[in-house]
Symmetry: C2
Subunit: 259 residues, 2 copies
DNA sequence: CGCATGTTTGAGGTGCATCAAGGAAGGTGG
DNA sequence: CCACCTTCCTTGATGCACCTCAAACATGCG
């Protein structure tokens, strides 16, 4: 069983989709067979919105693959992408504030498990491994929310962009032969800007600047290449935190070795 | 039992310290006697930092009275107050991101229950009421984090200040005879600025503007008076969300009646 | 009183948003 | 195959919201 897990994990890495931290990954594995039996798997595509409420009740979602975003639009303002959700992350309907046009949107292709919240709570009550999985997933998400808040409140635009690129690179990147990191970019310019609290035009300018200074490589649409992670990390005050949270020694080895 | 809870709640209101939502309040009441037996109560004072780690292990905190803040300082940046924690809120050490100088600081006088996280998890595993309490507290906090992110990312400075004042007024305010709302202001100018991602000077200017336009009243230090909540709510895109989350029909009646 | 701490307010600078024009990539129909 | 459209990205010019700095003003305390 344990060796099974390890195999799965390294396969996932080779495939370019890093799993969560070791402890989290293990808890998820124990929990996943039980959860799978009670959840409805949903396949999602780029831009697809997943209804937060299901059958009129509180609903729980578990991200299985891909990247999803939780977005919120307060009346009279533009959209804010509140969080990026990766594999293993958990979302309850009530995480979206009321009267705020909350939406769960798939960034690229992905898979989500959906179940009633009450069913989720019962499973957690009956199985400590599941409860632990949920608790740890939420703690991890809370810490990421804290980083995001610090970025929105205190980082200048370049720092924000660097932070975002590092986050995606650590989570979904694979190292290239040239020492860089490649990853799918499931967001368009506007999505990123809404995540970072920036203007799309400003974002574009910063990306150009990073490109000319060689930190990222010009790349085809929907694919990004970080050519100098170390230099990028030097730009982001949150770099060490992100490496600890996302990389955690489990991500692509090159990504961590570089630093 | 139910009437007991009600009595306690209205007493707390008269005392100026609103409890959480009805369901949360009830779950907390059932859970509190059990939790109390396993937690160490800490009395905190203005500006006091509470160590996030206790005996070297993951720790859980439950806010019993007062307001606390979770703050984060990423290397090379200024402090960001990531969240305000009110009565009933729950915090785990791991909610603070690593390498970010996380700190739990009491804003005014308060009380916190502290216990080992493992003990907390065991109690939740053994008692569905406690598990429900934790789950709901965290869901509520997540929703507030979403609002905070939207404010930091998308509100202009006046909207942020209005949002902050409404949040505190709904949580800790008592209505005055003049139709206003009074509440303790346990934060100084810098604290508020760091919560809202603003410059203290800018904040001061906005407060002056709100004062001259009559939305808030000049008041002695460490006490604030919102004289026109409706007008303040009109300034904040998050007003309705906050009323639903914080006021919830349970706060000061005047506060909700006004809207 | 004199000092420490915190707030207000003015003058000036800047980082980012806004607006607008142009370009690249992909899709569609002739 | 090319013209044409749509969508998305880039980049320049300009202005404003907010930051920064500094001086004056309160407030509390030994």
């Amino acid at each position: 069983m344990t060796s099974d897990v390890k195999t799965t994990r390294s396969e996932a890495q080779l495939g370019g989709s890093a799993l969560c931290s070791a402890s989290k990954g293990r808890a998820l594995c124990q929990a996943s067979t039980v959860l799978a039996a009670h959840a409805t798997p949903l396949r999602t595509r780029r831009g697809q919105a997943v209804a937060l409420m299901f059958e009129g009740g509180e609903t729980a979602f578990i991200v299985r693959a891909g990247v999803l975003t939780l977005q919120v639009t307060m009346p009279g303002t533009t959209r804010q992408v509140v969080a990026m959700l990766f594999q293993g992350d958990v979302l309850r309907s009530s995480f979206a504030p009321p009267y705020a046009e909350g939406a769960l949107v798939s960034a690229g292709t992905g898979e989500v498990w959906r179940m009633r919240w009450t069913a989720c709570a019962e499973l957690a009550a009956g199985d400590p491994a599941i409860a632990l999985y949920f608790d740890d997933a939420l703690a991890n998400q809370m810490a990421r929310q804290a980083i995001h808040a610090a970025a929105l409140g205190r980082f200048d635009c370049e720092q924000r962009v660097a932070t975002f690129l590092i986050e995606l690179a650590l989570r979904t990147g694979v190292s290239t032969s040239g020492g860089g990191i490649v990853f799918d970019m499931p967001f368009n310019r506007t999505d990123i800007a809404d995540y970072l609290g920036l203007n799309p035009d400003t974002l574009s300018r910063i990306m150009s600047r990073l490109r000319t200074s060689g930190l990222i490589s010009p790349s085809e649409r929907s694919r990004a290449v970080v050519s100098d992670l170390r230099a990028l990390a030097a730009l982001s005050p949150a770099a060490r935190s992100l490496i600890e949270i996302h990389g955690d020694g489990q991500g692509d080895p090159a990504a961590c070795k570089t630093l």
